[in-house]
């Protein structure tokens, strides 16, 4: 069952590329069906993981470490649900949004390819396989950022492509060095060999290379410079996809998997992760205060919220990792919703500048209300889901004695609230300008997907109660087990 997470998007991508031009609406139907079936499969996989704790699938029947294996444990099933849920909502949204662009079927091909790459990264258990899927997802995203082929989109896509390729070669260099040290590529086997051989200077160098490579994909400071150009220039569903899931899967999930389960953590690497997280938080939110373009503002906030997630995961305590993982899920949902809202504004008005808008509340009620819900979530106002995850992270900081980081987190949260109040005031409240007198509400598919995401925002706080907590707790347990990953995988293979 595991390879279907990669087969379904790949197959539908090439089928859409083959038949999308001849049969009308083929791309829409197949893409939405595909993402819906993937969502159903990932929900089923959480049920499986609760029963069995870990599932290993040997591709082709070849025994690892000679063959490639796919591993489904708590962290993988959690990320699968996040990615596929957000992709389903975005596929619904782009049915009507992409009418403005030509060649809609090519958009769906690239979209499903990117989804196949992301799913492949999550479930693979082999290090070079991770690199190949990383490249598939990255190349699809370079092409998607340049989809409109205006001047600014091309410039942003060029910068993103060059930086992303240099980061991928750092990752490949790290894989080459690690292979020369351990002579195997299977993740569990690498962890076994490192436990026997001991880590020395070479493994620290490899860890730094991986941090640089995956840190650029995750937009940590100081590797964040591509994000404020690339995310606003893409079409709105792609911005939601990039900011909502891509930087998390390619960056945060890969860092967590490699640092916690394979190389092993010690206090130095945890402190570095926490420091980078706090710096990202503060720099992202401070730079966002001066923006007037609504999508650029959201892109800077992505940098800051990823800093929260890295801070939570870098704490290393059970409460901290729970907060970090929960904030990852919440951020996917509300950041995608925010980007979809800005896309709706762009679709109806044709502009993204905040100073041009005003008083859209009575003309576009659904957009205004969902934007209000998402803004309150990201700023951390109870009872929306952002509040619970930020509270967990701050409590965990205080619990492990790092008061300064907790104060920085609170300050960043207050500044986030300030900039989103600015967005609300300029875009939705106030007086209606004359040229926006006769705009209409956005089409039905876009409204439907925004309402679905908003409902999840409101009910997201329920994930902490003990009825639904195993969903998050299984992910946390995998990260806490650390080196126990290899025992679990080898136990499941035999």
């Amino acid at each position: 069952m595991l390879p279907f997470f990669v087969i379904i998007p790949l197959g539908s991508a090439f089928l859409i590329s083959l038949l999308g031009k001849k049969i009308r609406k083929f791309g829409d139907i197949l893409a939405n069906l595909g993402t819906l079936s993937l969502l159903a499969l990932s929900l089923y996989s959480t049920k499986l993981v609760l029963a069995h704790k870990i599932l290993v699938y040997k591709v082709g029947g070849w025994m690892p470490p000679i063959g490639i294996c796919m591993v489904l444990d708590g962290l993988a099933s959690f990320m699968l649900v996040t990615v596929n849920l957000v992709s389903f909502a975005i596929a619904l949204y782009s049915v009507s949004y992409m009418q403005k662009y030509t060649d809609k079927y090519r958009f769906y091909t690239l979209f499903m390819l990117m989804l196949a790459g992301m799913n492949g990264i999550i479930i693979t258990g082999d290090l070079f396989n991770l690199f190949v899927f990383l490249e598939i997802a990255s190349i699809a995203s370079y092409a998607l950022v340049a989809f409109g082929t205006e001047a600014e989109e091309l410039e942003a896509s060029f910068k993103y492509a060059i930086m992303g390729s240099v980061a991928s070669s750092f990752v490949l260099l790290g894989i080459a060095l690690l292979y020369s040290y351990t002579s195997t590529l299977n993740m569990a086997d690498i962890s076994l060999v490192l436990a026997q051989k001991g880590t020395g200077l070479m493994v620290s160098f490899v860890a730094v290379l991986f941090l640089m490579g995956f840190g650029l994909k995750a937009a940590l400071v100081p590797f964040h410079a591509w994000l404020p150009d690339a995310h606003p220039s893409a079409p709105a569903p792609i911005s939601a996809m990039l900011s909502g899931v891509l930087i998390k899967v390619l960056g945060v999930y890969a860092i967590a998997r490699i640092f916690f389960n394979i190389i092993g953590i010690n206090n130095i690497s945890l402190s570095i992760l926490m420091f980078l997280g706090v710096v990202s938080m503060l720099i992202g939110v401070i730079l966002a205060l001066a923006q007037w373009d609504v999508k650029r503002l959201l892109a800077y906030h992505s940098i800051s919220q990823i800093g929260y997630v890295i801070l939570g995961i870098g704490l290393g305590t059970p409460l901290g990792i729970l907060g970090g993982v929960f904030h990852l899920f919440n951020h996917s949902v509300f950041k995608s919703l925010l980007f979809l809202n800005s896309g709706a504004l762009d679709y109806a008005l044709g502009t993204r500048d905040l100073q041009d808008m005003g008083g859209l509340r009575e003309k576009m009620p659904i957009t205004a209300n969902t934007n209000l819900i998402a803004s309150m979530s990201i700023a951390g106002i109870p009872p929306f889901n952002g509040f619970w995850s930020k509270l967990l992270i701050i409590l965990a900081c205080i619990q492990s004695g790092r008061i300064i980081y907790a104060i920085c987190a609170v300050v960043a949260s207050i500044l986030t609230l300030a900039s989103f109040m600015k967005v609300q005031k300029y875009a939705f409240f106030g007086k209606l300008k004359e040229r926006w007198q006769d705009i209409k509400e956005i089409p039905a598919f876009m409204r439907l997907s925004m309402i679905v995401l908003a409902i999840i925002c409101v009910m997201g706080g329920l994930l902490i109660i003990p009825l639904f907590k195993p969903f998050l707790q299984s992910a946390v347990d995998v990260l806490l087990a650390g080196k126990g990953y290899k025992d679990a995988v080898f136990g499941a293979i035999r």
Binding site: Y142, A143, T149, A156, L172
Partner: protein, 112 residues
């Protein structure tokens, strides 16, 4: 040992090219040099002393051969590099049509 150091020197030359050159085409060439250096490094890791090529033919004994796994991986990596280069060159051609110049210090409409 010295061949590994030379591979890393080649990597640094490519990195200098990406960072400091102003023409878009030179940046793309620098990216190509970086990929070349990493692939070369990966293949050289698989060398065993007095090994021969890892090809099995009829009626031949293999006593010691070089490691065949990095060679298969580098094949995949070269194809990935080809795809990235093709995409970036296509973007660069369109960029020239829109901006009229190849100089990257003049292509900076996105600021802030």
């Amino acid at each position: 040992m010295s061949e590994y150091i030379l591979c890393l020197v080649l990597f640094c030359i490519g990195l200098y090219c990406v960072l400091r050159k102003r023409n878009i085409i030179k940046i793309i060439i620098g990216l190509g040099i970086i990929e070349y250096a990493v692939n070369l490094f990966f293949v050289l890791i698989g060398y065993r002393t007095h090994g021969r090529a890892p090809i099995l033919a009829k009626d031949q004994q293999i006593l010691n051969m070089v490691d065949p796994l990095p060679q298969a991986l580098v094949l995949t990596s070269i194809v990935i590099g080809l795809a990235v280069t093709a995409l970036i060159v296509a973007i660069a051609i369109r960029l020239y049509e829109k901006y009229g110049t190849f100089d990257i210090t003049k292509i900076n409409r996105l600021k802030g």
